[in-house]
Amino acid sequence: MFKNPLEALSYIEKQIELRKEKKNKVAIYVCVGTGCSAKGALKVYEEFEKHLSENDFELHKLEENEGIELKKTGCCGRCSSGPLVKVLPYGYFYSDVKPEDVSEIIEKTVKNGEVVERLLLTDPITGKKESRLEDTTLFKNQDFYIMEEIGDSECDTIEDYMGRGGYTSLIKVLSGMSADDVIETIKKSGLRGRGGGGFPTGLKWEFTKKSQGLKKFVVCNGDEGDPGAFMNRTLLERDPHLVLEGMIIAGYAVGASKGYAYIRAEYPVAVKMFKKAIEDARKLGLLGDNILGTGFNFDLEVKEGAGAFVCGEETALLASIEGKRGMPKPKPPFPAQSGLWGYPTLINNVETFANVPRIIRDGVENYRKRGTENSPGTKMFSVAGPVKVTGIIEVEFGTTLREIIYDICGGLVEGEEFKAVQIGGPSGACLSEEFLDMPLDYDTLKAADAMVGSGGIVVITKKTCMVEVARFFLDFTKRESCGKCIPCREGTMQAYKILEKFTNGEATYEDLENLEYLSKVIKTASLCGLGKTAPNPILSTLKLFKDEYIAHIEGKCPSGSCTAFKKYIINPQMCKGCGLCARSCPQNAISGKRGEPFEIDQEKCVKCGLCVTKCPFKAISIA
């Protein structure tokens, strides 16, 4: 337990030295983020453990002379290629590692410093295998600032975090900065809320500080719920102390003595990591009463969310922490005025807090070197869809979509053609090709009727129907609506029903009119952010892809993906009359005489497509 900031600082310096030394030694880092774990990373880790404990003479000799470290590292963002293993000091980065590969890695890399070619990551852009992650184009084209030292930072020890200079920002704050200094710094840094809205963080802190209250709270919003978004999970898993440090600094700045980290229960690894981080910090006196002997008290608790999307909305989240049903409340009052149990509460996103120690460490000027004037810093995005590389990326604000999709993610996979991106999750919007060169930041996106949201990017190709995209998101929001306000509860359901009519080929021009009207009602009249943004997938597709809606009314799905518009036909020239299709058809919709071309009864056909897969002569196709 550190008695004063100096003690802590000398301890940190020692850790920095130790980490430097360690990086020159042989060390094996196994990524144990959720993605890698799901693909068996823990078995890989155990296999390494087994090998190291076995009676291997050479290994023991190596261990005695130089030491071998086996470490767990947090998510590296390349989840689709997991389990990932990095071996130091060489920096070799292996992907898709299986337990059976471990002995080869030990023999070749650990003992002899040789690379195992076949396990190397293929650079999606150059198509070449690269031995180090740092050498890949996708790495070079990113800016790992929040995710510094990706691949060899330990996620479960406070010492490693300190070895990377962690907690120096907190010490700096506690040993000389006033609360107002901190707020001023955050304000000047231009940091904006990473949860989606982009509200200036420093202002939020200032409001909370100025609010009168017997006590105050700091809350970390880790209820990441957008389908396909996992930036917050990654961050919490790979560097929980970074978020923790940001929260403590925030607590100091606004005058709070208690904090809650609201993390969804579906992120068990993140919950575990964060709880351990709290414990470790508490042991060293970085949390609790009289932190570092400065008289500042601040403690933290993890609250697990129960899986409601709406609890990402701040007032609903606070209700959930209070043990109530997670339903939003009208604002004002804002949480900064009246939050948890009526006390002033600062609530920020995971990534927002993670930026704070960096700003304090690097200073406003250096921090602002990244990003744009009005959106400084970097942003983590999760990229999904048919691009060569999917996963977590980190780029400066101002990077274009084209750079992300082609220079980082390697462009689209074979046979796919770009149509649009969906950005910002269910509250976000679709952007067409003409927006590819637009620099991404809060304001340009807003001007394009889109939003950064939490940072999910889904690439959509020509094979995808935009009406179906809207239907998909409305299906999500209608299920996740809390049911409180009428426009959202009833409106999203009705909008979904109308969209369903479109994809089922039953829509009329009146439906189109009603859909436009309904979207406006939901957007203007809903109570909370979830409702107000719920029609965005509709509005943006209506704006850029209205022709697709009209085509559906006219009896055609341009992308050919809506089942209702599909018509399976048998080409009589190619059909040999084997009858295999007829036998496999679950609806008995196919009939014919053996040896003669068969026919499909369109009335009976449910368009399952089974016949297409069964036909040995490729005689069945969609008309």
Binding site: P330, C482, I486, P487, R489, E490, Q494, N514, L518
Partner: protein, 649 residues
Amino acid sequence: MKIFVNGKEVEINENERNLLEALKNVGIEIPNLCYLSETSIYGACRMCLVELDGQITTSCTLKPYEGMRIKTSTPEIYEIRRGILELILASHNRDCTTCDRNGSCKLQRYAEEFGIRRVRFQNIEKPAVKDDSSPIIRDNSKCILCGDCIRVCEEVQGVGVIEFAGRGFNSQVATAFDTPLGKTECVFCGQCVANCPTGALTMKNDVDELYRALESEKIVVGMIAPAVRAAIQEELGMNEDLALAERLAAFLRTIGFSKVFDVSFAADLVAYEEAHEFYERLKNNERLPQFTSCCPAWVKFVEQFYPEYIDNLSTVKSPQQALGAIVKKIYSRKLGVNPDDIFLVSFMPCTAKKFESEREEHKGDVDLVLTTKELAQVIKSSGVNLKKMTPEPFDRPYGISSQGGLAFGKAGGVLGCVVSVLDEEIGVVKEEVREINKGVNLVEIELKDGTSFKALGIFGLGNAKDILENIDDKDISIIEVMACNFGCVGGGGQPYPNDSSVRKQRAKILKDTVGIKTLLTPVENYYMIKLYQEDLKDEKLKHEVLHTNYKPRRRVEETEFEILPVPDEDKIKVKVCLGTSCYSKGSYNILEKVVDYVKKEDMEGKIEVVGTFCTENCGASPNVVVNDKLISDATFEKVLKELEKNVKR
């Protein structure tokens, strides 16, 4: 404060809660479906939109400020409101003609006012619970999820028996585990009914039973509660008619009632009895503070949530049940008929009274309780114009009352009446009333004999709850509690609308009606005194007729699962609680061990083992009951010790 509404300058009161109320008070009613002045601001219906600086926002959450410029009705706002109404209607059960709220439904009114003749959206039926297990009928197919009932139940009444369940479109108002309301801790005050804007919560309708009785050979006797006469006028297009009770008496006789009595007579009696009971307790300093027991919702509230205070309740029956017992036990003898030949109908402003008449202790005294709303239905369907009915007096001997008795219909009435009896009998030297909170009045009283004490008059069970949780003033010796805001005038059986402004108007009418009564206090009530002197001479009979008892109530109905059943009466019974809390703390392990023990020791047939749900002692789980002994924080060893003790015996 000056603000500009639709370009016109409007003067509003300072310190209004929000723009919605401020405008309502100057005559501009912004449409809304979820706003209640008495509860927290919910902001869910999104109907009360106004335009402020080009932005559309809800007026219920908007604080007015000097010079504020707002528009209350723009084409955009109109379009959105229409859209919202259509959205609700699309999933609403629109069987308006057979709905209890036909004509008084707020949604129906808006649909009419906005000229909605067609719903543009798809009709989607919601899964809907229908619950008629209590005097309060729930029909979720008519629920618009405004949450008014939930907030009233929780915030105003402190009961909290209903909550939202489910998500999004499937949200529903539900009880815990969807238990029928009649089996929950609901106190049947009907404040949810009073505040429901639609027909999702209505009062049980028993009018048919009245007609069956009138058709039978029975002697049908009626009795009318004080608050009925102040409210029924609203349903009949009448206003401030001070002879309404007497017109009602005349009307009831025309449809076949043999006698019509006044519940205010019984109120005199109850106050008289309760004053004596209180004076005894005060002198002996026992079971204080005494709680009034006229309000059946309050009585159930105490039984349910504060069983430790049961002894504080006055044992005197409510006026309804006292008069019921008198009619059945004394009046029947006077008539020389069997009590069963009399069919006694009580007209009440209250839903809980229906429950009260069916309590075990009272069963058979009052045969039917009809609410003000139901009585209005009887009158309306008869085609009689009550205005033109010549008033007739109530029947003797239970037909006259003092001012005190009639004042029972509004908050503070019981307490005032009891004090007036004390004044007559002992003498009150000082009486000072002070409002300490909305719905809570403190009265400081000094008697001639030198004793002084404090009394509280409370309305709203939530207020009562706050007082019970923080009661520390030992001088508070008597507490009147009326479950409903403003007392019985605001009862759950009263006509719609049943909001604060209407209730205040009813209280005024009742006050005026009280004012023209000649008798001031029960002591002056000749018939009441005669009743004491002649019919209630026998102490035992008096006790049986005027007093009752109470019992603690479970909140969760107990269910037993047979595990090792024993048919014999003579057995040791082990009940292991398997409720969530006990289960998660290992009660199932205890159960297994007990079963093993019974089998191993060859005690099958002597020791019965059952699982139960639940012992309502979650704070000290796991819980096991051996015979009647509750073992909390149970371990198998503790249970074994108790078992062995019983085995030895």
